[in-house]
Symmetry: C2
Subunit: 320 residues, 2 copies
């Protein structure tokens, strides 16, 4: 367990950021954000240089009212830059709606743990995989790519630890359906550096043809440490949420997704390129905060960039 | 710059945690915490297994009213376990008072950047070093150990970047005075993984006989990433503040010290021992929060330990 990162090898030169705030973030926020504001948020992030979005989900409007405008959001997003917009789909009906709306890829999702899958999508894992086979065949016949998300990949709020074998088994099933981008979701913030190392290495071994995406929550403060660990493992695709939009469904005071601007700050400071303008990202995080009407957990949006200096007559300090 | 950690070598087996909440934390809080409550906080942390404290500072009560009860705090702390209590001293008078109060070591402090030293202690760096020589000689004649802190070791809020050579120069001066424990302070949260690597390596080379201590702030979200980086560099002594007590003197909304319980959580999850009971630490963080009357930034105190599971009928979730 006490194992540091992977050698003195260089970190990746470039990392892709997938912004999940419009979906994973807003879905957990109690206020309904008007469609025009969601679209504005996304398009400001496009202008900041983000090129990958989990834009919305095509789920039942009764089950997830916050996402009831999925089609209208897709109609409004700025596609002039070639930015890619995916959407979560829970079933064939959602897949059809998403494809009609012109998404760039469908995202299927299930949980690594049986209890969470039962709770979240109301069926056992095996049933999820059966349904996904049909959806993949349908999407592929229309040349729409499919991605796969695995929730509770680092632990389950009901069961505790999740065996790495369960994550690998689902990843292999996704791979066998033709899926080539798989996201490991840290649904309730249970990832740790050793678990990140273990799971990255196991998946690289088991499904080497797959591009791995890591999705961390900061629920226990180590979200960016896990991202840094993934970076050392050579992962080049990370999901994050602007300002840290979204919370934890289990603990009212806890935080959820890692803030996109904090992740980008860390990457840039480590010499890793993202193609993103951090200042514009911070401005958009501030917009997200006023949209939601509560203080968001992002830190860089409060403190400003690293080299923002202060006048010497500003305040008295008296400490070491 | 894009360089990952130091080889696939094991992390340290054991790390010493230095609790700085009673001094660095409380000093930045606007409310005066009654002496009895400070002592209770410290003694609860002793009971949780913490064995190193920056307990107070012997400074002018006018300049830092929060620390006006330095002697009374030292009189009240539980010394039955052998826990060590240090205090910051700015000058000879402070050193005399601290030694009369029976501290286990004095902590001298100055800044790596000239502007911050001028602002913080009202004299240039050279003057600080001259005064320290006298204090060290005096303390050593009484067999009281002296430690040295270097503020703004990773950046200065007035000057921006701080050359590593300035940190090394002060560390060598400390070493030449007989100091064997040196703390690098990330005063306003400007440390990054590459800077941590660079400074750890430079100091190990320049002052190999010194035990390095790292003190990070989470002002830009990467405090624990910097601690993890230091751990990979072989550092075995870290300062932190219970609950994340203390703020940033420059940015009202920004956070300060990394929370002790979040650091300990990360270390334990990485298989690094601390000798500390995390559950007791979390309980004490909650006490600190009610003492201060504002929400503290600690995450583990809100979310609970990693394997705290939830009943399946608790809430509806509908996301991936």
């Amino acid at each position: 367990m006490r194992q540091a990162g992977k050698a003195d090898s260089p970190l990746p030169e470039h990392v892709e950021i997938v912004e999940v705030g419009p979906r994973d973030g807003l879905q957990s926020e109690p206020v309904f954000v008007p469609t025009a504001r969601k679209v504005e948020l996304i398009n400001n992030l496009v202008a900041a240089g983000i090129r990958h979005f989990e834009a919305t989900s095509f789920v039942s409007p009764r089950a997830v009212p916050q996402m009831r405008d999925a089609r209208e959001v897709m109609d409004g997003v700025d596609r002039s830059t070639g930015a890619k917009f995916t959407a979560l789909v829970p079933n064939m009906k959602g897949a059809e709606r998403a494809m009609e709306a012109g998404v760039d890829a469908l995202v299927l999702f299930m949980s690594a743990s049986q209890s969470h899958n039962l709770k979240n999508v109301n069926c056992p894992r095996e049933t999820s995989l059966e349904r996904f086979g049909e959806i993949c065949a349908f999407a592929q016949s229309a040349s729409v790519p499919v991605q796969g998300a695995i929730a509770t990949s680092f632990g389950c709020p009901f069961e505790g630890n999740v065996p790495v074998e369960d994550v690998v088994r689902i990843a292999k099933a996704y791979r066998d359906m033709g899926i080539r981008i798989i996201s490991l979701g840290d649904t309730t913030g249970m990832a740790t550096p050793p678990l990140v190392q273990e799971r990255c290495r196991a998946l690289r071994e088991a499904v080497p043809e797959v591009e791995l995406t890591l999705h961390f929550h900061n629920t226990r403060g180590v979200g960016l440490v896990c991202a840094y660990t993934g970076l050392m493992e050579g992962v080049t695709r990370f999901e994050a949420s602007i300002g840290g939009l979204g919370g934890c469904p289990f603990v009212p005071r806890a935080t959820g997704n890692i803030p996109t601007e904090d992740l980008v700050y860390m990457l840039h400071e480590c010499g890793v390129e993202t193609g993103i303008d951090l200042d514009k990202l911070v401005t958009t995080a501030e917009q997200a905060e006023s949209l939601i009407g509560r203080t968001l957990p992002g830190q860089v949006m409060k403190a400003g960039p690293r080299l923002k200096t202060h006048p010497m007559d500003m305040v008295a300090t008296a400490n070491g």
